[in-house]
């Protein structure tokens, strides 16, 4: 148990990210890559993710404005987005991406739109939570080795 209250709080926050299903095992992989040489590796990767994926989100949004839907293209974009999201361990976002692709494959425009809205919500929620988490992490100082979620 962390003696430092900040670290304790950080640990709790981290645990809740896993418990609530926002992040998965892949997030742990990122944490394990973090070391003294790259103390903020996870934050850097997540920052890069949000910057790059914003582009894809925009593409999808634009594609959804064109009727009729080009499902093939939408699926392709989402495939890209899903790959990125899964690489940082964004569990809920990834799940929503999969759902979106299913709708694309079945040509369900309505489903796509609904799913995309949900996806954007999850995407924003995660961003906020991780932002808070990283902020706290910086304040708390070097964190101990990541422990796997129970």
């Amino acid at each position: 148990m962390e003696r430092n209250p900040m670290r304790r709080q950080l640990a709790i926050m981290r645990q809740s990210l896993f418990d609530q299903g926002h992040v998965d095992e892949q997030f742990v992989q990122l944490e394990e890559l973090q070391d003294d040489a790259n103390p903020n590796f996870v934050e850097e990767v997540v920052t890069l993710y949000y910057r790059d994926s914003a582009r894809i989100i925009l593409n999808i949004e634009q594609a959804l404005e064109r009727k009729p839907f080009d499902f093939r293209k939408l699926d392709a974009y989402m495939h890209q987005f899903k790959g990125s999201s899964s690489s940082i361990g964004a569990k809920k976002v990834k799940a929503e991406s999969t759902l979106f692709r299913e709708y694309c494959k079945s040509g369900n425009g309505e489903g796509c739109m609904r799913s995309f809205q949900q996806l954007k919500k999850e995407y924003a929620t995660l961003r906020k939570k991780l932002g808070t988490y990283f902020q706290l992490a910086r304040q708390a100082g070097p964190v101990e080795t990541a422990s796997r979620p129970k």
């Binding site: 990122l30 890069l48 993710y49 890209q80």
Partner: protein, 679 residues
Amino acid sequence: MNVSSVKGSMSISSSTSTWKAGDTISDQFPAGLRVLVVDDDPTCLMILEKMLIACLYKVTKCNRAETALSKLRENKNGYDIVLSDVHMPDMDGFKLLEHIGLEMDLPVIMMSADDGKQVVMKGVTHGACDYLIKPVRIEALKNIWQHVVRKRKNEWKEFEQSGSVEEGDRQPKQSDDADYSSSANEGNWKGSKKRKDEEEETDERDDTSTLKKPRVVWSVELHQQFVAAVNQLGIDKAVPKKILELMNVPGLTRENVASHLQKYRLYLRRLSGVSQHQSNLSTIISAQDPTFGSLSSLSGLDLQTLAATGQLPAQSLARLQAAGLGRATAKSGIPITLVDQRNIFSFENPKLRFGEGQQQHMTNKQQVNLLHGIPTTMEPKQLVSLRHAAQSIGNMNMQVPPHGAQNSQNNPLLMQMGQQQQQSRGQILVDSTINHAPRLSSSMGQPILSNGIATNVSSRNGIPENIRAPGYSQTPSMLNFPVNHASELPGNSFALGSTPGVSILTSKGAFQEDVNSEIKGSGGLMPSYDVFNDLNQHKPQSWELQNVGMAFDTSQHSNSLQGNLDLTQSALGQQGFSSGQMNGHNRSAAVANKAMFSTGDVKELGSAQNVNQHLNNLLVDNTIRIKSERVCDTSPANIFPDHFGQDDLMSALLKQQESVASSENEFDFDGYSMNNIPV
């Protein structure tokens, strides 16, 4: 060609030279492994880089495939392994994979979030040594060094084997192949090759003198020279030693050539797989030359083949055969038994089945015709090949007999060849195809064909020449197939079957070669090669149908380079081996083929990449299937109303192919849909 690495890897400890870092393998390996990672996603790229560094590898990252290729080209010996994403905007990952395999011969691992069976299968068929599903975990990266070691070990083995085997193996294989002097060589060579492929013989690997040879960079020019040499020799007879002599490149060793040849064959095989599919349809359709009465009969065989492969419903096949047979002047009705014969050959490779059907068909006919004279001009040849094919069916040996080709010209020879069958089959078929090639071209009215054929013909007239045709003269053979009907194809069956025009021939030839030389029925690749041989041999007809369709389609696609347009050599070279050129080639080929092939191939040509991909897809197992499917479709339509029926079939097949081709992603191969994975 990483000859040095190959040699060096004989024993891990000696692979020091292969590691640039200078670390001794035993000490630090796999640390220092030089990895090139390519992924257009910056997040993934960053994570991968960090993971690879954590594995103590030396990492170079690229976010574009073109960048990666140029880095690899600039420094061919600078990397040990490549990790590439499948879906990239500027170039498809599989295309990159092929380029790397051909030009640099480095192990490539594909990655994708897509874990669909088809995509993974595509990776396998394109030669990827592994496929990782994203998100990639570091544990998966910790062991990638095994692919480097394995590859080098295998290459070393091949070099050693091929070298020693080749030299020591030159004993006439068949006792009674007085007529097939070439076959003897082929047999020997094949045997040695097969052994080589089996990689089970390590007793000959005492020779470590070749360790640490400098890695050869197979530039586009060099590769073209190589392809020219191989074409000149004929795919069956293209042994590294001779290729080396023909190329006359100072500093190039036989081992370099052997290794490259192996890769090349693999590449051709892939192409032929795709092209077969296409070519079969196109060839069949294009083989509507009325002058070739046997064509109809052959088509029956082809149909059988197709049916045999399980694609064609038995009834359709029977019907087609009957139709075809009925037309054949000298040919008695083709019994459905042929189909049964096919069953004998239950090769996994659909193509093989195809070939089998053909052979069977042909065999029956052949035997009848051969003995009783050949009603049509083509028949003798076809018969010969048929016979051989029939015989080959029994043997199923891959040794495509170069002899066969020779015999086709003379019935008496054929008789002899019959005995030799297996070997001669390929030859005869080749011959017949070649001979017919000219006719095909004329009758077909396909410029490409004629070109191809002409080339083939000239080369084929001699038995040994036939051997060549299969490999690279695919085009001609392919053309011939439709016209001449399978019988001739066998020799070149590889080429013919596989790709519509070019690819089939190429692949066939390649296969035959491989089969004969390398695959004595063993080893991984062998089966596939064998398939080709058998296919070629047994089913001259089936090939026709198959090849026709395939030839046209395939050739147009990627293979177009080779076959139809007389670009065989250049096309091949360009196609497979020069990334940039491939596209160009395909396009040009496509254009050329366009004129020739009416069908959708043209559309396919639109994007060289697609073509290649398409071909690859097609080449992969589905070729046969596709063909079968095609044939099935047409068969019910009673494609062979008369000896011209084949034309209809061909056109029908072509149409099918077109539709198939045009919808690359829509191929619905039985069990192996190589649909392009949507990005």
